[in-house]
């Protein structure tokens, strides 16, 4: 149908498969805007020490709860800190926390998924059952359980959200492996006497990679949201860290008088998640063989 048709057209117009893939991915307004916005936020976070007009932890650089002005683009907070500087710097924490979380979930989730899918049998059946049950908990509740076990702090937030998302990753990877396992080349490798570990690492892992990339991108937005949520519930970032969730939480009380302390960090968080989701969305369309999208 149209999917294979597109593929055929694309194949004739592009020289390398990577180039073709990139073109399909980014010659899409959503993905393009998403990438640009995300890169801008990341770049701003990286060069924050040079572009932020003020030290983001310095108190009393302006009066407290000053409205946005030319001097303080996004106003000041209760302690007279510059909200603009804090929002820029906030990306350093919020974005890297999300990425670290996803890496952790990917690592552990794919290990479990590949193991279960490959080993099969009773262990797999029970493992799958357990994963299903774990999926019944909202990851945020699971994460709160874990934070209460480990204590408050950014590293613990990464561990908590990372572990809480493992079941989702494990499930997807497991079902991908189940399909792959039956394929000829795995059978061939086995016939050639390859060890289980070797088959898992050398043959299964590379083949689930594309799935992992899509999943990772799709879940990155969620991960950023979850880590920010924990900080919002005062279970994450420690003062004076300018994490967006924590800023929202402290801005909440002054919402009526200084809405800027709440609006801007939230907007930054929303834009980050939205841009990541735009890219992830397109990525999954491009990589999904069933995709009916012909652009």
């Amino acid at each position: 149908m149209s999917g294979s048709g597109t593929l055929a057209v694309a194949m004739t117009t592009s020289r390398s498969p990577t180039g073709r893939f990139m073109r399909r991915l980014f010659l899409h307004p959503g993905a393009m805007i998403g990438t640009i916005v995300f890169m801008t936020l990341v770049f701003a976070a990286i060069i924050a020490p040079f572009v932020a007009p003020y030290d983001w932890t310095e108190t009393d650089v302006g009066g407290r709860l000053q409205p946005p002005s030319l001097e303080f683009l996004m106003g000041t907070d209760l302690h007279g800190r510059d909200v603009f500087s804090r929002v820029i710097a906030g990306g350093r924490y919020s974005i890297s926390l999300g990425v670290a979380t996803i890496c952790l979930s990917l690592l552990v989730g794919s290990m479990i998924g590949i193991f279960l899918g490959f080993i099969g049998g009773k262990i797999d059946a029970w493992g799958a059952r357990l994963i299903d049950v774990m999926l019944g908990f909202p990851p945020i509740v699971l994460a709160i359980l874990i934070v209460s076990m480990l204590g408050v702090g950014l590293v613990n937030v990464v561990l908590a959200v990372g572990i809480a998302n493992v079941p989702r990753f494990a499930r997807v990877v497991r079902s991908a492996v189940l399909v792959l396992r039956e394929q000829l080349y795995i059978e061939a490798a086995r016939a050639l006497g390859a060890s289980d570990i070797r088959i898992m690492v050398r043959h299964l892992l590379p083949n689930v990679m594309p799935t992992l990339v899509v999943l990772g991108t799709l879940e990155l937005g969620n991960a950023i949201l979850s880590t920010a949520t924990l900080s919002f519930l005062s279970l994450g970032a420690q003062p004076p860290t300018p994490e967006w969730g924590a800023m929202l939480s402290s801005g909440r009380e002054f919402m009526r008088y200084a809405p800027w302390t709440m609006i801007f960090p939230g907007l930054a968080l929303f834009l980050t998640v939205m841009s990541v989701n735009l890219v992830g969305d397109r990525l999954s369309q491009v990589l999904d063989p069933k995709s009916k999208d012909s652009r």
Partner: protein, 308 residues
């Protein structure tokens, strides 16, 4: 019938397993439940020791595990540490506000999601489709604590359209929208792809060839067959929501099972945590069972036995 009975019976080992896991985790979590319960109270050491004895915390872990298990087998899940009341009663009390919010959230979610999904699905790849899908993405990208606060600020404080506290229909609107926005994103997407798929089926082509209007076809024929994936999603969302929506409850200061669980965990109120986990697990499995059964109702071609 035996299928359903078998499915329900199979819940028991799962619950026993989760229950035991949670018991172990609660032993590992640092903190003495008595100190946590008494919070900042300058109660004397004698009072603290008495409380430990009253709660049976002075007994060895293994003994406690089996006492607890024995009681649970007879249906007695124990009393909350601080409240000193049966945990089953405490859960029942919080059940209604939770269900209320779950249903409200689903209503808004389905409403938004349906409109977006159908608009997008009827004309795939048009600008309408793109716009709808971007809006659906906005729904899942909005931090619920942020949009919740903004809704309160705009509709509660500035416009004063809805009550902020208390209960009843009015006070349910904003929290439901907050939950609904999130639900809508995934729902819209599934509706869209299901419709596109259904539109490509032969019988729809036939219907179109007969000259029926596109909207009419979608609403009368395509939708019915396109409903299975979205209904599954809704079922799972409902199962999760009925366990409590922590953040929304927090922002709107609503009672609910999510908040109750978080508080219980932070206070190490062991019987309450255990009971809530059992409840959540059971509800999740049961809702999944109901979804499987619902497949049969939506599409008679699927027999229940295949639903597992």
């Amino acid at each position: 019938m035996s299928f359903i009975a078998r499915r329900i019976m199979s819940i028991i080992p799962v619950i026993l397993f989760t229950w035991s896991m949670v018991f172990i985790v609660l032993q590992v979590i640092p903190g003495d439940p008595v100190n946590l319960m008494l919070a900042g109270v300058p109660a004397s050491e004698e009072v603290r020791q008495r409380e430990r004895e009253r709660l049976g915390l002075d007994k060895p872990v293994v003994e406690r595990y089996f006492t607890f298990l024995g009681k649970a087998a007879t249906g007695d899940l124990g009393e909350g540490f601080r409240s000193r009341r049966p945990v089953t009663v405490m859960i029942q009390e919080q059940m209604w506000p939770t269900i209320e919010l779950a249903l409200g959230g689903l209503c808004f979610g389905v409403m938004f999601g349906f409109v977006l999904g159908v608009c997008a699905g009827i004309r795939p790849n048009s600008w309408v489709d793109s716009t709808c899908m971007v809006l659906a993405l906005v729904g899942v990208s909005l931090p619920s604590f942020w949009i919740g606060m903004i809704l309160i600020y705009v509709f509660g404080n500035l416009l004063m359209w809805v009550p902020i506290t208390g209960r009843g229909f009015g006070a349910l609107i904003l929290p439901s929208i907050t939950v609904g926005l999130f639900v809508a994103g995934g729902f819209a997407r599934l509706i869209r792809s299901s419709i596109i798929e259904a539109m490509n089926q032969d019988y729809i082509r036939t219907a179109r060839a007969k000259g029926l209007s596109r909207t009419r076809i979608v609403l009368k024929h395509a939708l019915r067959n396109a409903m299975i994936p979205p209904v599954t999603l809704l079922g799972i969302q409902f199962a999760v929501l009925i366990g409590g929506a922590v953040v929304t409850e927090n922002v709107f200061a609503r009672p609910g099972l999510g908040t109750m669980l978080v508080d219980a965990v932070l206070a190490k109120d062991m019987p309450l945590v255990q009971a809530l986990i059992v409840y959540k697990t059971a509800v999740y499995i049961l809702v999944n069972l109901v979804i499987d059964l619902a497949y049969g109702a939506i599409d008679p071609r699927i027999r229940v036995e295949q639903g597992s």
